[in-house]
């Protein structure tokens, strides 16, 4: 019998990992998220077009479907159909439909616009490309490829959410625990602080801060600035939750036992009070990340978020916030899907982590 793999000999972290691995849904979501982050990291490679270059020849093109069969028969390599223009006589709108007579092969590792991989290595190879227009998710009002914009937008949306949330969690759990455990004036003080901070509706703070930031900051700097400040204000919810939990647990039997056995405060906090909270903390964290991502969409909606030519999912959704879009160009609403997906994945992952982090539960 190998002593090392026996469950009884594994430490907490290894136990957690074992349980996590067994949760297939959680692992699947983790994998999906990993894919998202990789794509975001190497956005230029994955995106067939430049996200900022306006191309007025192909405005409001509906998504082009890939086909394997065309007028010339069956192909192994997928092909994208050519585009046909049609002008509306009254409004002079140009609508695009597929031209079944021509099609272009989709090439992999094709040459496209030049960029610098990771900002260092110049290249112009992209994952997919084609000889003709290939807008798999359609284009927007300036003829920019939606797929490329979504990929580049992922970069901004995914990273900024993480930073803000991590900060929030740190502050929230620390202060919540201190508040619940110590009680007395510390508790009162921290509670007042939380109340004070949470008494401000976020909107006025955002607006005031947006106005106060120097306009010479690049758009990303501005946004990170605002997000950091928001995270400093968003820890209140978590702190309250942790405090509630710690309050309930403070008088629990095993804590009393530990205390009467002579354990010091920090030992009690780390070993007895915090572990049952991990589940909460992780759940709150996974609930907060989507909140951050959705918060970014709200900020962009108010005009305080990412500024052009930078793009993020929030910016894309703000541009889609029009009756004309919903009724005439509904493919521009597609960026809602990765938002939802990422949020769901984070939540499932958080669930899985929560289940795994509580090895004493059934």
């Amino acid at each position: 019998m190998s002593k090392k793999t026996d469950v009884a000999y594994l430490n907490y972290r290894q136990l957690v990992w074992r349980r996590l691995r067994k949760n297939r849904l959680g692992m699947f979501c983790a994998a999906v998220l990993l894919v998202f982050y990789v794509i975001a990291g190497f956005a230029e490679f994955f995106a067939p077009y430049d996200y900022a270059e306006p191309n007025i020849t192909y405005r409001y093109v509906p998504p082009q479907v890939l086909r394997f069969r065309d007028s010339e028969g069956f192909h192994i390599r997928p092909r994208v159909m050519a585009l046909k223009e049609k002008a509306d006589p009254v409004t002079k709108e140009i609508a695009y439909t597929t031209d079944p007579s021509r099609s272009y092969p989709v090439r992999f590792f094709a040459r496209g616009y030049s960029y610098k991989l990771l900002g260092i290595f110049p290249s112009n190879i992209h994952l997919i490309g084609s000889d003709g227009p290939m807008y798999l998710l359609g284009t927007d009002r300036m003829g920019r490829d939606l797929l490329s914009r979504m990929i580049h937008g992922a970069r901004v949306s995914l990273t900024v959410g993480l930073i803000g949330v991590m900060l929030s969690i740190l502050i929230g759990s620390l202060l919540g625990t201190a508040s619940g455990y110590a009680g007395g004036w510390i508790d009162v003080g921290i509670q007042r602080l939380i109340e004070l901070l949470s008494a401000f509706p976020s909107i006025p703070l955002w607006m005031a801060l947006a106005a106060a930031l120097p306009p010479t900051w690049s758009s990303v700097q501005v946004y990170i600035g605002i997000t950091v400040i928001l995270s400093l204000l968003g820890w209140g919810g978590l702190a309250r939750q942790v405090r509630g939990r710690v309050l309930s647990l403070r008088e629990a039997d095993y804590v009393l036992a530990a205390r009467s056995a002579g354990a010091g405060h920090f030992h009690i906090i780390r070993k007895c009070l915090l572990p049952p909270c991990y589940g909460h903390i992780i759940v709150m964290a996974t609930l907060a990340i989507p909140g951050m991502i959705l918060g970014e969409t709200a900020l962009s909606f108010l005009g305080l978020g990412i500024r052009p030519p930078m793009t993020s999912w929030g910016v894309l959704l703000e541009e889609a916030q029009r009756v004309t879009v919903v009724l005439q160009y509904p493919w521009l609403l597609i960026p809602a899907i990765p938002v939802v997906l990422v949020v769901i994945c984070f939540n499932f992952l958080g669930d899985a982590l929560r289940d795994a982090a509580d090895p004493y539960s059934a």
Binding site: F200, P201, L287, L317, V323, A336, V340, V343, I344
Partner: protein, 328 residues
């Protein structure tokens, strides 16, 4: 318990003072004031700069040329007498503007809140007790969908789709014919017909999140030793779940109730703006954009007061529900 309540109420007063001061200063943070904006607007529309002289007069009249603390003092003095100042944009009393909207705001927000809790708590309990079953998984999926929807987009999309397919314009809270008619049963029914879109859209985020939290709490509590003990004692599953486990699991959820009071008043501002509802949220947002100081300051103060009351209520309920922490 009464000690705690009294102590908290006393503490509330300085808190409110600090909040009101800070909110005033924050509104001042943005460069310029309402009048610079008004000038900008006048110029953009009329290309007219000669109204400048009159604006300076207005500035003096509203006291905007005085330092911030003087303006604050004036406002507080008026507030104590029940006069919260005048809105620059609407040119009417702040209290009037708020009073007109507060009815609808409360109806909408309390409706949403009730909807969320009434729906979420039982679903959360059900989901926890039927952990990992198919209904549980479907429910979780729906929750995630609800939580991750960018709600303002949903609001617009729902309205447009409803309008396009059913041909019924469901904007605002009333149809054209009932808007200024006196109250009647028909008007109430009309209100309900319009209410369901905002309430459902507003609850999506909240309900999704709350079901998950409730479920997580229940699962935690169901794993506790005392639950095992209760089961061993022979109590029915129903008793275990509802009388014992749920009461404890509901605690953190209730403390969130306190935190959601500001959302009652600002009423999911963005959605209310998109749906054109006559509530407080859009008013607050516009007053901030306009730097309409007295209006914005009063609204923030109101929100803060509600929050403090909400927290207090939440703590009271917490203490009542969980006897273990009653003695503080």
């Amino acid at each position: 318990m009464t000690n705690m309540i009294i102590r908290r109420l006393l503490l509330a007063v300085p808190t409110l003072i600090v909040i009101s001061m800070v909110s005033f200063f924050i509104i001042q943070l943005a460069p310029g004031d309402f009048l610079t904006q008004k000038i900008a607007e006048l110029e953009q529309r009329y290309g007219d700069a000669s109204s400048l002289a009159r604006v300076q007069e207005l500035r003096e009249r509203y006291g905007l040329d005085k330092p911030v603390y003087v303006q604050y003092g004036k406002w507080v003095w008026g507030a104590i007498h029940g006069n919260f100042g005048e809105s620059f944009r609407y040119e009417r009393e702040v209290s009037e503007l708020i009073w007109e909207r507060i009815g609808y705001t409360l109806v909408l927000s309390i409706g949403t809140l009730i909807f969320i809790y009434v729906v979420s708590i039982p679903l959360g309990i059900y989901s926890a007790t039927h952990n990992r079953s198919l209904p549980d998984r479907i429910l979780m999926l729906l929750c995630f969908l609800g939580m991750s929807m960018p709600t303002f987009l949903v609001a617009l999309t729902v309205i447009v789709v409803v309008f396009n397919t059913l041909g019924i314009p469901l904007f605002g809270l009333f149809s054209m014919q009932y808007e200024s008619a006196p109250w009647s049963w028909a008007k109430f029914v009309d209100l309900l017909k319009h209410l369901w879109i905002p309430v459902v859209v507003m609850s999506l985020n909240g309900a999704g999140g709350l079901v998950r939290i409730m479920r997580a709490n229940m699962l935690d509590v169901l794993g506790e030793p005392f639950v095992l003990a209760a089961r061993a004692k022979g109590l029915s599953e129903r008793a275990v779940v509802y009388r014992h486990a749920a009461r404890i699991a509901v605690n953190p959820v209730i403390s969130i109730l306190g935190m959601s009071l500001p959302s009652i008043v600002s009423g999911e501002t963005i959605i209310a703006i998109v749906l054109g509802l006559p509530t407080i949220g859009p008013l607050l947002f516009q007053s901030l954009q306009d730097q309409d100081m007295y209006l914005a300051g009063t609204l923030i103060l109101m929100t803060s007061t509600l929050l403090i009351i909400g927290n207090l209520l939440a703590d009271i309920v917490l203490a009542w529900a969980d006897p273990r922490i009653r003695y503080e």
